[in-house]
């Protein structure tokens, strides 16, 4: 950055520009249209011999002179003053590019002044013809001023070919120049009519008043057609980026656009009413109302026009904070403070990063944002984010929300700015996540008599962690719905998977029996899941409770209890690892054949609050607060134009996937919308760019230091989320690419600023269907399931062909044993290490059956099922190590 920044903490720059510009622009348009009005009325008075009208005209000319030449003239200089103080770089560009355009406009200004002074001071002493000639001179000079200034103002919105050739004429006669000139000319005529009504309505001579007001009302009405047609021409002339910014992207503009659209017919109605013969007081009231409406109308237009060039001050050349496109490329990751000439602080002091953060705010943000002021106040805009959330917002700035410039600077500076916003502007202390404390509960492992027991019962959770959003009064992503699978094996030299004449029951451990007392899922299930009637408390979506009987899946030769409504709370505390006891019983006698225990992991550590704030509902570590849930809807409504918050407040919360199709829930969603995983990962990848597994942990319960740490299986030793799923950018692109190929409109926007990190480019990313195409185990375990070098592995892009190839439903080579039966649940494959709730909480069955933590049958423990040692790998290649 080239220039010092005026510290305008309270008001910010935008307020002053808006204040000076809108008032000046209204008066300056009057100065143009009013000139024509003067000569036309004068001619009318001459032709009709209307002495009263001519006398009135002199008074109006005085009003015109005092308003346009004093206030209009000086406030015009004031705009120059203001922009030079607030954005000297842009001002310098405008001055140097159009210096002779400005100089020509100065000549017109001189002509205007001389003409108006002569017109007014010689009103009674000049020959009428000469006087009218002076009036015409005035109008022509004034209109030429409008013509010249329009070129420069339109240039800021649409610089046209100037961006390539730097040529004066290319910049001046840009895309929006001609429609802008016609549009502004029509506005100028309307405003002239408004002021004519205003002075006319105060005339005591009733006839004169009626004539002036009616004539002026025609001036308000007549240009309407031109204004509307040129307005449409204006919009059509805009390049796509500017048009999209006005009509779709810049959300804050919508109210101004609506005001402009509404005020237009109101002005028309005001003008039409004024044509009628009305009492003086009504005319006065109407004239004031139309003038105020006209002012608001003009102001709305100027706001919308300014918004169209967001985030630029000169579109495509210089951002609103004076960083040019050429500089931006160099500043994306480089230390910004070092390059800013007028930065008082050059480095981030880790002891107090808010000092550098404050300087960054001043340099990069204060041109538009106030601190506690009337326009673009940064305080409420940042109130609903945590420090991490603000950091993410800065990362995403200029991407999916393109009305903001990108943040310039390195990660340290970005975090310093986030710290300043949160700590200094909101008075919040630095954020430190609550430390989780390991527990060492006694793990009740059922006994197993290797010599005499006839059965082995293997049970597992199908996902390794089921997340649920207990935000039900507002919205829901996932209900309490855990799947528990089990296989019963009759031991012997040739073991047999037992599916007949037995029943399998499951029972959750004490403290977890009443999820309906923990979450409000049941109160809102009908609305959230579109059910015909209320769901009985404690009963899950498939009819299962937290204890019950499992159903046989004959095809997979296993028993399953689906959608168990497990909630991760016990005694008011967060506990994501409830244990179920599973028993196999002889159907007829009820005799227990085998018993085991298994973790049914379930988590509400969904990290929305980490960025969106609102806090955690339980123990400051899990669960949705009302505030967080509300904020999510609010931000969705803001960006997607939905009305979800109002619907939820009216008692009609929704399942996110009711709009965004999702294979895991089997929802069809709304045609054309991105599927849910593509939408949510695609959106957030733009805000959590450049990170590793820590990006995953911002939302999922995978933080190694968090209260859940869901990745706890053998892979956690040396791998993290990104080794299988790719980085967040990779992950998102794999989902978005398939949606883009399917013609989903939203994908391209989310992909525009994302680059894959695990592979070279987007071409190499293999698109996939969420949930059905996941990392394939054989992508890394290529030969005989040998452990590959963890330093070189990546399962990204090596997706399963479909649902049947997923680890969680895949079987061994015999087709009878589920992979997870012996290896454990995904994300918790044996040997697992549960950091917080007992190290062996996820290893109960290996410990029960073989006294170690290895997969069932590993390390020569074939005897668990076979009773004898085996010498070949029947289940999968490489199982018997001696074979290799």
């Amino acid at each position: 950055m080239n220039y010092p920044v005026w510290d305008l903490a309270t008001t910010g720059g935008g307020f002053w520009i808006a204040l000076v510009a809108v008032t000046h622009v209204f008066v300056s348009h009057f100065a143009v249209g009013g000139g024509l009005w003067l000569v036309m009325v004068e001619r009318r008075a001459r032709r009709t011999g209307d002495a009263a009208l001519r006398s009135f005209l002199k008074g109006h000319a005085r009003f015109f002179l005092l308003l346009t030449m004093v206030f209009g003239g000086i406030s015009g200089v004031g705009i120059w003053w203001t922009i030079a103080l607030l954005n000297p770089s842009a001002t310098s560009t405008l001055i140097h590019t159009f210096v002779f355009g400005w100089a020509a406009e100065w000549v017109c200004f001189l002509g205007e002044i001389v003409a108006l002074l002569v017109y007014y001071y010689k009103f009674d002493t000049m020959a009428q013809r000469d006087h009218e000639i002076i009036g015409w001179f005035y109008f022509v000079f004034a209109w030429l001023s409008l013509f010249l200034i329009s070129g420069i103002i339109a240039f800021m919105l649409t610089p046209g070919g100037w961006l390539e050739n730097g040529n004066f004429w290319s910049g001046f006669f840009n895309e929006s120049f001609w429609p802008s000139v016609v549009f502004r000319t029509s506005l100028a005529a309307m405003i002239a009519g408004m002021f004519g009504m205003l002075t006319g309505a105060w005339q005591r001579d009733t006839g004169l008043r009626q004539r002036v007001v009616r004539y002026s009302a025609v001036w308000v009405l007549a240009p309407f057609v031109v204004m509307i047609l040129s307005g449409l021409w204006y919009v059509r002339a805009l390049p796509e980026a500017q048009e999209t910014m006005i009509l779709e992207r810049a959300r804050e503009v919508a109210p101004w656009l609506r005001r402009f659209v509404w005020l237009t017919p109101m002005l028309l109605i005001g003008g039409l009413l004024a044509v009628a013969k009305l009492p003086r007081s009504v005319h006065q009231l109407l004239a004031v109302a139309v003038a105020l409406l006209g002012f608001a109308h003009m102001g709305s237009f100027e706001f919308v026009r300014e918004a169209g060039r967001r985030p630029w001050v000169i579109h495509g050349f210089m951002y609103a904070n004076a960083v040019t496109r050429a500089e931006a490329a160099e500043l994306q990751e480089a230390p910004f403070l070092q390059t800013a000439r007028w930065a008082r602080v050059k480095t981030v002091d880790n002891a107090d990063p808010t000092i550098a953060g404050g300087e960054l705010f001043r340099l990069q943000c204060s041109a538009c944002h106030a601190v506690g002021g009337p326009m673009n106040d940064i305080v409420p805009l940042t109130a609903e984010f945590t420090e991490a959330g603000l950091d993410a917002q800065l990362v995403g700035q200029g991407r999916v929300a393109p009305y903001m410039p990108p943040f310039f600077g390195n990660a340290e500076e970005r975090r310093a700015l986030a710290a300043y916003l949160r700590q200094k502007l909101h008075g919040r202390p630095p954020e430190t996540p609550p430390a989780a404390e390991p527990q060492t509960p006694a793990l009740d492992i059922p006994p197993f008599d290797a010599e005499n027991d006839e059965y082995v019962l293997l049970a597992w959770n199908n996902m390794g962690m089921h997340c649920l959003s207990d935000s039900d009064p507002w919205w829901v992503i996932l209900p309490p719905a855990n799947d528990l699978h089990a296989q019963l094996i009759r031991r012997g030299e040739l073991p047999e998977v037992v599916t007949e004449e037995v029943t399998l029951v499951y029972r959750v451990e004490a403290g977890f029996e009443h999820p309906e007392k923990q979450v409000s899922f049941w109160k809102h299930a009908r609305s959230n899941f579109g059910l015909d009637e209320d769901l009985p408390e404690g009963v899950g979506l498939s009819g299962n409770r937290v204890s019950g009987e499992m159903k046989l899946d004959e095809e997979k030769m296993m028993f399953a209890a689906t959608l168990i409504p497990m909630a991760p709370y016990r005694d008011g505390r967060y506990h994501p690892y409830p244990i179920c006891t599973v028993e196999a019983r002889e159907r007829q006698s009820g005799q227990i054949l085998a018993r085991t225990r298994v973790v049914v992991p379930t988590s509400t550590e969904m990290g929305c609050a980490k960025c969106h704030g609102g806090g955690w509902r339980v123990e400051n570590r899990a669960g949705f607060t009302e505030e967080t849930a509300r904020r999510i809807l609010k931000v969705h409504d803001k960006h997607s134009g939905t009305g979800l918050l109002a619907a939820a407040e009216a008692g009609k919360p929704r399942l996110c996937q009711s709009c965004h199709q999702d294979p895991v829930l089997g929802t069809a969603g709304q045609p054309g919308l991105l599927n849910f995983p593509a939408a949510i990962h695609g959106w957030h990848a733009n805000y959590l760019t450049g990170q590793g597994a820590d990006a995953c942990a911002m939302c999922h319960p995978s933080d190694p230091a968090g209260p859940t740490t869901c990745l706890r299986g053998a892979h956690a030793d040396s791998l993290d989320c990104t080794h299988c799923h790719g980085t967040l950018e990779d992950h998102a692109l794999s989902l978005l690419k398939k949606e883009n190929e399917a013609g989903k409109a939203g994908a391209e926007r989310l992909m525009a600023h994302l680059a894959p990190r695990t592979v070279a480019d987007l071409e190499e990313v293999v698109g996939r269907t969420p949930w059905l195409q996941q990392p394939d185990c054989t992508g890394c375990h290529t030969e005989a399931f040998i452990r590959p070098d963890p330093g070189e592995v990546s399962a990204f892009n090596q997706w399963t062909g479909g649902f049947e190839e997923l680890y969680r439903v895949r079987t061994d080579d015999t087709g009878s044993l589920q992979c997870a039966a012996c290896h454990g649940a995904p994300h918790a494959v044996y040997p697992a290490f549960n950091r917080w709730y007992g190290h062996d909480r996820d290893n109960l069955q290996p410990l029960q059956y073989q006294g170690n933590r290895r997969p069932i049958g590993a390390q020569g423990h074939c005897t668990v099922c076979h009773g004898i040692e085996m010498d070949f790998s029947v289940h999968h290649e490489g199982m018997i190590k001696s074979e290799n």
Partner: protein, 352 residues
Amino acid sequence: MPPNLIPRPDVLQVGWGWFQVLLTVTFTAHILLMNAMFGGAVVTLLGAARPGTGGESVARDMAGRVPTLVALAVNAGVAPLLFLQVLYGHLFYTSSILMARWWLAIIPVLIVGYYAAYGVYYRYETPLRPLWSLLAVGLLLYVSFMFANNNTLALRPERWIAGFENPSGAWLNLGEPTLWPRWLHMMVGAVAVGGLFAALVQDTRARRGIEGAAAARDWALRFFTHGSLIQMAAGLWWLMALREDVMRRFMGGSPLASALLVAGIATGVWAVVHAFQKKVRSAALWLVVTVTIMAVMREIVRIGYLDGVFHPETLTVVPQVSPLILFLAVFAVGIGCVVYMLKLAFRAAKEG
């Protein structure tokens, strides 16, 4: 001074000499009109307080002229400010930002001052006239003081470091040794020139034989004669207050600068001599010559202060001549139109 505080300037479309000439010429026009405006306002204030004298006659006349002079002075000020920004914008914007609060306040102050000038005119016969008059003079003084601050600050990048520490825009260049003599020189000069302008008007009336006009002229002319003598002392103070290397340019160091100083003093004295002899038109003519010389000297001072820091000849030129031709054509047509309009106006005056 941290050299990296000086912003990078932008490129020019034609050689810097074009802009330097345009800047100097238009500034001369502006300063003459500004002097007539401010001096006129002071003469109005003081003259109106002397009922029954030539002063009152001058005040009545000038009260109607000052608002027009404000309009013309502001307009004539736009052009040099534009050309100043082309050559020295990177320095001028910076100094403006350092005193941003004071600088931006010029706009509302000038609007109120301008309306106050109309207040004097339209409310001349009311008891509020002195208040309007004082308000106009006071506010215009504020504007002039801020211009003196900014123009001196833009020449002293080494002083910017103070503003660097205080970005609230509340800073003024009060420690600058040339500030006070420069402002005093300008303002006393303005009062003198305002007196001469009023005298010129009265002289024209006197030539038409209007009663009391000669006395009014003589009353107004004293502002020029006496004011010029004080102003010369202020000019000497300013000269002495200049940074030594710059001052030495006018003391023989630079033949051109020294010659201009001598010529400026000579023509100024000559103008005063004519004024003492009641040769108002000659005095006015020599005054224009003096002010033109002083405007050139002012540019020499600017370039001298910036020696080693910046010179506009170092600016990059990416030639584009057609916009200059556009301006010259518009200027020629515009001036032609103005002349025609004034012709129509004066024809009306004669007829009226």
